[in-house]
Amino acid sequence: MRAHDIGSSLFWLVFSVLVCMSSIWLGIGSLHQPSAGLWSFGASALLGILSLGLFIQAFLKPKAIRTESTHAPNLPSKVILVLVSMALYAKFMQTIGYLLASFLLTGFLFWLAGVRKWWSILLLAFLSAFVSYLVFSVWLNCQFPRGLFGF
């Protein structure tokens, strides 16, 4: 956890500096006449101070010998694939429509989750997309995009 704390505290330190700079650019004003940047400046300045505190705390902590990885946790490929697939869904749902986008996404996620028979994947993906469409769009009038193909 020591390496993680050092890494994350540095990240938050950089983040707080960036927010502080943005807040100053917006204008801080005074306590009497607070401007748009005062609140975010105060929060980010405090965050910066606490990040430094965490960094010092982690730095002074004795090193554990061979009990922890010195690297930040790696993003496993499955995590990246889920994130990318969901981001692509968000990007293209309006274009290809809810039904098709949901069919493709759930199909991919079922495959990723370990379902290997292609007909199972197709059936489960179809049922998930169609039933959710039926319940939320047809029954409950939730407005989903129809997309290029009109469904």
Partner: protein
């Protein structure tokens, strides 16, 4: 007419088949929504809103409120059985509920959650009925300094309750304040921290942030764990009726949870999340064995579950008597009523006695229905949850998407959800908690407005926060909480120093 005549009149209106059906369907959908991770009451109310357009105002109010308190009830099921809060107010139930399930005591945990919810829900309706006007008047007398101090107290309380490092919890609360400040400045109308994106000018949506941090991050974490180590559905659920020992341990937790929940519900920004954390914190502090909290004690389930149900009744006080929704879910409820031509406010009860008293009666009936239908139906909810995880994962992802898209119809919000999902996943890996961030994110804009108004009122003097008794007490509590967190560490250092000197 006295209260009893009013409530009798309310039951007469409720006996209309449409209102009865709305009550039953509302609590059942609410429970299902609470059971299924990813969709919270906000998403459910948003999705159901168009479906109520054909119904009357009374039926709509009964149905949508049934969804809200039904979700509070249902959220405990997933918190206890799979350590995933069905909705934000059940986050704290995971701490002891899941540990109880791991110890083979899922039945008593589910049972006390149901009974606690029923008792607290019923008492909160009684409190709503009797004390709505005086409490609303008191809340009305709060000015910006009081609001600011109470909100500060809420955030500090949450960081104080963090399981891990308090320092990291405070840092997350500050990150939440920064995220909450994204968007147009309410006074100067200049865009803040929007990265030049027009979509962020309305601020970062709370629903995509919450669903990302809790729902998507949970999916990612379980994918990461390759599903082999996920400890779910292995516990046997039996003996839903809590034992006498369980009742003895829980009775005061339920009583305190009811009172705390109801009053936290009245506070703007309070509601289920704050009330459940506050009641858990109070219970932990008052317990003879605080060290056992988090390891599976029944008070740790009874208190938050009672509180979050009581908070629903409390949060309806300012909505119905002042016309002020205190959280996003109630804002949607407010919108639903306005669409039906009913305007919540000081004249709401006198102008629409049929709506108000039927609604109060429906909450009595709804709480009974939740208990009568759902304790026997726990098997059904468990069957829903027993679907193999690989089948559940894509469905949870789909529900998360529907929950976000159903509210805003915005693809951008889906991207925000994905980004916060990745962020939530990394937060878990680095030992940061999401709950302080969420609460600060919700309270941030309100706290900022209150702070700036206070500063303008006092001409820049911070003394305004201590001259008002309510504000001074709230800030005092916040400082005491912070001090009590720092004190053990300081004591430890002093002890070490003395040992070193000797």
């Amino acid at each position: 007419m006295g209260y009893f005549e009013h409530i009798f009149y309310g039951f007469q209106v409720l006996l209309d088949i449409n209102n009865l059906a709305a009550c039953a369907i509302g609590v059942l959908i609410g429970t299902l929504v609470g059971v299924l991770p990813g969709i919270g009451p906000i998403g459910a109310v948003a999705i159901l809103l168009p479906a109520t357009f054909k119904a009357s105002a009374t039926s709509s109010l009964i149905l949508l409120t049934g969804v809200i308190y039904g979700a509070m009830y249902g959220g405990s099921t997933t918190s206890i059985l799979i350590n995933i809060p069905g909705e934000a107010a059940s986050v704290v139930t995971c701490l002891d509920g899941y540990q109880m399930a791991r110890k083979g005591r899922a039945g008593p945990a589910l049972g006390i959650a149901a009974w606690g919810s029923f008792i607290a829900g019923t008492f909160s309706v009684i409190l709503l009925m009797f004390v709505a006007n005086p409490l609303a008047k008191m809340a009305l007398s709060f000015g910006p300094p009081e609001y600011f101090s109470i909100m500060c107290c809420g955030v500090v309380m949450l960081t104080f309750l963090a399981r891990g490092s308090t320092l990291k919890a405070i840092m997350m609360a500050l990150v939440g304040l920064i995220i909450g400040s994204v968007g147009l400045d309410l006074i100067s109308l200049s865009p803040r921290l929007t990265l030049g994106l027009q979509e962020l000018e309305d601020g970062v949506g709370m629903i995509p942030v919450a669903i990302g941090l809790f729902g998507v991050a949970e999916i990612l974490e379980n994918i990461d764990q390759s599903m082999a180590t996920k400890d779910i559905f292995k516990t046997k659920i039996g003996g839903l009726w809590p034992s006498l020992e369980d009742w003895a341990a829980s009775k005061w937790a339920i009583a305190r949870g009811t009172v705390i929940g109801f009053f936290c519900g009245i506070i703007p920004g309070g509601g289920g999340l704050l009330s459940s954390f506050a009641s858990y914190g109070v219970e932990k502090k008052m317990s003879k064995h605080p060290e056992k909290f988090g390891t599976g004690v029944i008070e740790g389930v009874a208190a938050p579950e009672s509180a979050n149900n009581a908070a629903v009744g409390g949060s309806l006080v300012p909505l119905l008597s002042l016309g002020i929704p205190t959280n996003a879910t109630l804002a949607l409820l407010y919108a639903a009523l306005v669409i039906h031509g009913v305007h919540p406010g000081p004249f709401f009860i006198s102008s629409n006695p049929n709506v108000f008293w039927a609604f109060v009666a429906s909450m009595y009936l709804g709480n009974v229905l939740l208990l009568v239908l759902n304790l026997p139906l726990i098997g059904l909810w468990v069957q829903i949850l027993k679907i193999p995880y690989r089948m559940l994962l894509p469905l949870i992802a789909l529900f998360c998407i529907i929950g976000v898209y159903g509210v805003s119809s915005s693809s951008f919000d889906l991207l925000v959800m994905v980004v916060f999902g990745a962020f939530g996943y990394l937060m878990r890996k680095f030992g940061y908690e999401a709950a302080p961030l969420i609460l600060a994110c919700v309270l941030g804009p309100m706290a900022e407005t209150a702070f700036r108004q206070s500063m303008i009122l006092s001409r820049g003097s911070m003394m305004i926060f201590v001259t008002s008794p309510i504000s001074a007490v709230a800030l005092g509590i916040a400082f005491l909480l912070l001090f009590s967190t720092v004190l053990p560490a300081v004591k430890k250092r002093v002890m070490k120093y003395r040992e070193f000197e000797e």
